[in-house]
């Protein structure tokens, strides 16, 4: 169960609309390494995660990612407020606008709609936690790329906050992987899958 809090995790207060920026930042809502994919990945990986600390991290980071979806949506909402048709065309926002007006639709900057095709749930803690570590780094790179394209301090500020969260989440998933490996067979981490083999069995063919 979740409880909604009527506040952003970090303030978003953008003075100047900018259709061009909105059309790239939307990728961090519905793109391959975006926040919606992050929340979906972590919250669904929890059920097969055998260790309680790792379930805790997936639950709490997954919930934080929902707050990041809201921050990205707030950025897009404010960047596209009061745009004129001329500004929409000049900013290259016309292809988005024709289908969604200025509603918030989770898609990649390329226009590809949000898909779970870019996330993984493998049902094995080493595979899933390594997926999560990679996901945090990919999202961090996307934020670095956004910062390369953006010189508005009102936008850079919340984007820098979100970038920093990727670094912290990477650290915590690293902790979770270490705690997981501490409980596995130290001579062969892959001797069994504790999500499936109940921590006792062995892989077929070993």
């Amino acid at each position: 169960m979740w409880i909604y809090e009527k506040k952003l995790q970090y303030p978003v207060k953008i003075k100047n609309p900018n259709a061009r920026l909105a059309s790239v930042i939307i990728s961090q809502l519905g793109g391959p390494d975006g926040e919606l994919g992050a929340a979906t990945r972590y919250l669904n990986q929890r059920y097969s995660m055998p260790y309680r600390e790792a379930v805790g991290i997936l639950t709490d980071v997954g919930s934080e990612e929902l707050g990041h979806c809201e921050m990205i949506a707030a950025i897009i909402y404010q960047l596209t407020k009061n745009l004129t048709p001329e500004e929409i065309i000049a900013g290259g926002f016309d292809k988005y606008f024709v289908d969604h007006t200025t509603g918030i639709y989770p898609q990649a900057a390329s226009g590809v709609p949000f898909s779970t095709g870019g996330i993984g749930v493998k049902g094995d803690p080493i595979a899933d936690l390594n997926e999560d570590l990679a996901a945090e780094q990919k999202a961090r790179v996307t934020y670095d790329n956004i910062l390369r394209l953006c010189d508005d301090p009102d936008v850079r500020d919340p984007i820098k906050f979100l970038r920093q969260r990727e670094v912290v989440h990477y650290q915590r998933f690293g902790d979770a992987l270490r705690l997981t490996q501490d409980r596995l067979d130290s001579s062969n981490f892959y001797a069994f899958n504790p999500s499936f083999d109940n921590g006792k069995g062995e892989c077929r063919g070993k």
Binding site: I3, Y4, E5, K6, K7, L8, Q9, Y10, P11, V12, K13, I14, K15, E53, G56, I57, D60, V61, E64, E70, A73, A74, Y77, Q78, K81, D154, V168, H169, R172, D175, A176, L179
Partner: protein, 84 residues
């Protein structure tokens, strides 16, 4: 405290609380982090109460009863733009 000042403090304390929560998830016996968590939680609780009494609810159940359901009448977080 003004609405914006109070909200900024609440956001900062909420952030400290979440950050400590994530740390504790993988360091469950860390005494320093546990003490810090409960210290921040107390401060956040007091400021949240002050905010909800004066400026409007942060959670639906924090809506102060004054004859109408202000939960939906106060602005939503993405609407507070640069003019504030």
């Amino acid at each position: 405290m003004s609405k914006n000042e109070l909200m900024k403090k609440i956001q900062a304390l909420s952030f400290a609380l979440l950050e400590t929560n994530l740390f504790l998830d993988t360091h469950v016996n860390n005494k320093e982090a546990l003490d810090y968590y409960y210290d921040i939680k107390d401060k956040l609780g007091r400021l949240t109460e002050e905010y909800e009494e004066n400026y409007g609810p942060i959670t639906a159940s924090g809506t102060v009863s004054d004859g109408e359901w202000s939960w939906v009448l106060e602005e939503w977080p993405w609407q507070s733009g640069a003019e504030d």
